[in-house]
Symmetry: C2
Subunit: 695 residues, 2 copies
């Protein structure tokens, strides 16, 4: 799709210049330095030649098809130039020029105008206010970007919303001699979008890993769709900044909504199998391992070391990340016992001790690779002055090149003396890290990707519901933004099989007396008027009414105090058992409705122990939401209590997911509290609020 | 104190050898390569000379005073050699040789033997099974160590339990061209201890920062004492491994007790002002900033950048670490508005934009340094190809060298092209990082140290208590390991002013009836026999007894079911209000008693929301314990409830701290639950357990 952008057969530079500090000049220099496999056409009406390339006054004068142009002229001149490009049949225009949407109203108008012009000619805009693109594929070798990190072929592709972050990612790869596949920092995203670029990388066979930097997700639904597809094929690592409200404020001014965007982004990542990082370094280090080593089959790892301390750091990090230290098979134990010095420790970590040479260290790795209990290896190697360290490196390199299980390495050495050790190991494809922490976190990310790849296809089963009836109820409020009366809410719950405590609506005292027979004491009486949203706070709820006297007293008091609202009343069975949980849903922002689950009260409000997931919920996702809250042991039956009916709670979540997916006009819905009873006895909604919105 | 070790005037090498792979040879080479300021005496009865140094058959034959010896001969020969050293007046013996405590019973015996021999002559043992020491002080320049990282003068000193970790720390400093002051990796710690070394570094004026790697703290009380003194003068950064049970198992086999050691270590660090790190890299990066820049006065920071993305990462990291983005003063705003290009963003972060040169970037930093709202600066600088980046670096270097506020920098560049930029900035003392995350975390550590330094002297006030009476009660159980009867526990609480709900002990039904008058209904009846520790589980507690009928029924039932224990009974007022908390104390392991605070029930057991501190508790520590639990908003009055009496809870903690400090024979004590009432109304212990131990 984006071949004209990432595999251009020819590039024209509009704004080309002999001034070596100009973007037009730097882009030409970068194209030349990286041996672009196509002709370069500088466009400049005032010069005859630039860097010995003949110049043209306009793209339309170039005697050749031009796939891609790089534009770095004044913002107000861009529309005119684009008309010329369009007429000349240019496919993609990278607009480096700033002064568009990011500067306000005028700029936004100009931005819309250039996209319109481009689309008129079937041309696409990349940017404006953008760095550019790079593709290291030797058949193309295009560096249509004004940045400074040299490019060489590799298999990690990068797309970064911030050019500064993109540059940091490239820099680290460059520093350790790693190549890169494709790069894009797309600026204002007026036309060619981040999602398209990710999709393109996903389809590129030579791209093994994708790193993404995001500040805001412009099209969340599109991102969810693309990311879900891509992560089935290759790891998608994301650094999303703006985690804190101050960070968000630094991204833009409309704080409130974006804070929610981070929760939504988190839910999108979870659902689509995107791996999120808070640290650039950790993301790069994970990408390096994922791009060079096979995907681990399980979380069972082994650590090998020739010095104790760093291995213990690796153990701490790996365990904290949920990995497991494999138990060596008896065969492996026996083999190592025979191979290693008597001071060696044959357990996990395996300490081959500092005096181990190529035979001992290499033999250990070979034995561990054969052990069926082990699915990946971390090797820690300090270069002892009394050992032939290069021989160890050559042996490890030989083993690494042929290994079918992932191996990653920490080497503690000075490059001036043992640089060859690092070089030889890296050449075999084994990544080399400076710190045990880095290696452990990278391996944890690899194992996480293995788990994502092994996820079964989601089971989005639907339940039998009475959708017609629900349509009828919700249909009454078409085009309105309002909270529904409680009786309607409970009827709606019933239509989707969401079990609620027995509830009837009454208008008068006589009706009240009549309904008591059906429900039986103890009872709850609640006021029901749409203006009264927070009923408990307003004194509109009376719990545990034991007999007619207290019921009528409560009725009289409420009828009096709420009389200006002309309220109805809701009469409910009073439940004295069950564990309180909250289930909720919001319409979400662009990626569909979001479901919420938590324990009630302080667990939600104070401890923020809440889980969010995007609808539709699969069976596995519903269970995962419940089991992922920190307070889950409470539902599981902490302190001798019986376990709550988790299956039923999961079913409630799925039915609610189905309801809010069927009716996008549901703006927010709170089932609070829901009482969960012991296993096999289900759960009942005790109170519920529902707000519809105008679509 | 350790001058003979770290400032030896002469060194003898026992086990010196012409084999370049032997430790004896490598140590001599390291001493020569680093130009040791004293004579070197190889000891070897078989060679005439080693590396052109005349050899001696024994230390006693050296015609000179020998301060320090390095020993790397076979373990069984060490005692004999030490006798000779002792007679010759050697002050310190570094024993590299392994095969001591770490190999079991035999080795431990040998280890004790060598310490005895040494002490007989007033000599000290460093090790055995140790790397060695280094001191880069040009007046000494001693590298009495067999490791490979070159040494140059600096002001960070390192002590590492694991040589591999020590080497990693030195390596990173070496890689970025930083020096180091002193180094020690002390092996088995048979004599010269980690605490002594830390103390020595603390007294060394040229040491500005100390980095420590710990696996186990051998002498916790000593560490607490030394660390508390040192952190008043300079930052003490610690990486303690063995955080997870698997990590601990990798350290040693006696898992259980060491798991608790990590909690204790955490409490020691908190009390003594030690800054703990889980990552070697983060510790090193913090040390670099702390060793080169002044201590920040407050958490008010400013971020300056010439590219957006990385600054937002810095914002996220800084905010997550509790720092605050300062509001620029109006004067600063005005100055920057006049100085900078119109596209620049004058807020915090300040974005000077990529085209900013030395005048704009430098002028911005100068203006911000003058702003009283700002106490430290993070500068993010990407090297744009269209700017004179070296001029910017020189300007920043000039400003940095004179600045009175801390400045740290992130530089995004390739060293091949702009290495001078990094060099110039570093030379001014401003540390340069590769990642915004690193710089932010380093600054957060600096600010944390500023807060530690500003801590007031702890207010260890004691309360009026009846210590005599407490002595009487506890004295009854001298030499026993047992739980006290409840009545004694309540009497003890009373003697230390720990208010408990009104409680009386009764033996018979008649007494019971009599006591009811004093307390009034509702009442709680509990069985009281020392064999019954978990009374509630055993059915030995009846709550909320409303009248005589129910009280006597409860009494009869319990008297019957516990009759084999011949129990007494405890009668208590029943409290229906108040918020439950748990307060506890344990005798601790080596660093004195440990206090515990948490909310009751699931908050402690499931959510592990508990705080620990070491006795004695200062006023500030007691309050900090309470306010540090995640559920603190619940005590503060979440969901419209009234705030609990925090002051009184703090007083309870301090009184309990006083009690367990006065009586080390108290093994464990649980006040569970304690009911905290609303502000001004205090708190009452409802139930309590106390176990004494034989001392």
């Amino acid at each position: 799709m984006l071949d004209g952008l990432f595999k251009p057969r020819s590039v024209a530079i509009i704004g080309a210049s002999n001034n070596p500090l100009s973007i037009g000049h730097i882009v030409i220099q970068n194209l030349i330095d990286h041996n672009f496999q196509g002709p370069i056409y500088p466009i400049n009406p005032k010069s005859k030649f630039i860097k010995s390339f003949k110049t043209y006054a306009a793209v339309s004068e170039v005697p050749d098809e031009v796939d891609l142009v790089n534009i770095s002229i004044k913002n107000t001149l861009v529309p005119m130039v684009l008309e010329d490009c369009g007429k000349a049949g240019v496919k993609y225009a990278i607009v480096h020029t700033a002064g568009f949407k990011e500067v306000g109203e005028e700029g936004l108008k100009l931005e819309k105008q250039i996209v319109e012009i481009a689309h008129k000619y079937g041309m696409r805009i990349y940017g404006p206010n953008s760095q550019g693109i790079q593709n290291s594929d030797p058949a193309v070798s295009v560096y249509a970007n004004f940045t400074f990190v040299p490019m060489k072929p590799g298999n990690i592709s990068i797309v970064a919303q911030s050019g500064g972050v993109g540059e940091t990612l490239k820099l680290h790869l460059h520093r350790i001699g790693m190549g890169m596949r494709m790069y894009a920092s797309f600026g204002n995203e007026a036309d060619v979008s981040m999602n398209e670029i990710i999709d393109y990388y996903g389809q590129d066979d030579e791209t093994k890993v994708i790193m993404v930097h995001i500040e805001t997700i412009k099209d969340p639904a599109g991102f969810l769709e693309v990311a879900s597809r891509v992560t089935r094929k290759k790891p998608l690592l994301v650094l999303k900044t703006g985690r804190t409200s101050e960070g968000v404020a630094a991204v833009a001014s409309h704080t409130g909504s974006l804070m929610e965007q981070d929760t939504m982004a988190e839910a999108i990542f979870e659902k689509s199998g995107v791996q999120r990082f808070d640290s650039q370094q950790e993301m790069i280090e994970a990408a390096i391992a994922l791009s060079t080593q096979p995907v681990p089959k399980s979380e069972n790892i082994v650590i090998v070391t020739n010095t104790g301390g760093p291995a213990i750091i690796a153990v701490d990090e790996c365990i904290a990340a949920g990995l497991k230290l494999a138990k060596l098979s008896p065969e492996t134990g026996k083999a190592l016992g025979e191979l290693l010095f008597s001071e060696a420790i044959v357990s996990n970590p395996v300490d081959v001790i500092a005096t181990a040479g190529a035979k001992e260290y290499g033999g250990t790795v070979e034995a561990l690779l054969k052990d069926p209990n082990i699915d990946s290896l971390i090797l820690n190697f300090v270069t002892p002055p009394f050992v032939d360290c290069e021989a160890v490196a050559h042996k490890l390199g030989e083993i690494g090149a042929a290994a079918q299980k992932p191996i990653i390495c920490i080497v503690l050495t000075i490059e001036e003396r043992w640089g060859e050790v690092i070089r030889v190991i890296r050449q075999s494809g084994i990544p080399v890290y400076d710190f045990a922490e880095s290696a452990s976190k990278a391996l944890a990310a690899m194992i996480k990707y293995g788990q994502i790849r092994q996820r079964p296809e989601p089971d989005y089963r639907t339940h039998d519901v009475d959708k017609k009836k629900a349509e009828q109820i919700i249909g009454r409020y078409r085009g309105q933004d309002k909270f529904l009366p409680q009786a309607d809410v409970f009827e709606l719950l019933d239509s989707y099989g969401l079990p609620a405590v027995k509830t009837v609506r009454v208008e008068t005292k006589d009706e009240l007396k009549k309904q008591v027979q059906k429900l039986g004491y103890p009872l709850v009486l609640k006021v029901d008027a749409e203006e009264i949203v927070h009923k408990t706070d307003a004194g509109g709820v009376c719990l545990d009414l034991q007999d007619e006297t207290s019921l009528l007293k409560a009725y009289d008091r409420m009828a009096e105090s709420f009389k200006k609202h002309k309220p109805g009343f809701v009469l409910q069975q009073h439940l004295s058992e069950g564990r309180e949980v909250i289930i909720g849903a919001t319409a979400g922002q662009g990626a569909g409705p979001m479901l919420m689950f938590g324990l009630g009260g302080v667990f939600v409000e104070t401890l923020k122990d809440v889980q969010f997931r995007l609808a539709p919920l699969s069976q596995a996702e519903a269970v995962d939401m419940i089991t992922s809250i920190k307070g889950f042991p409470i539902l599981e039956g902490a302190r001798g209590a019986k376990a709550a009916d988790i299956d039923k709670l999961a079913e409630l979540l799925m039915r609610l997911s189905q309801l809010v997916s069927d009716f996008p006009q549901i703006d927010e819905m709170d089932l609070n509290p829901v009482f969960a009873f012991e296993k096999g006895k289900g759960a009942q909604v005790v109170d519920a609020r529902l707000k519809v919105r105008k679509l």
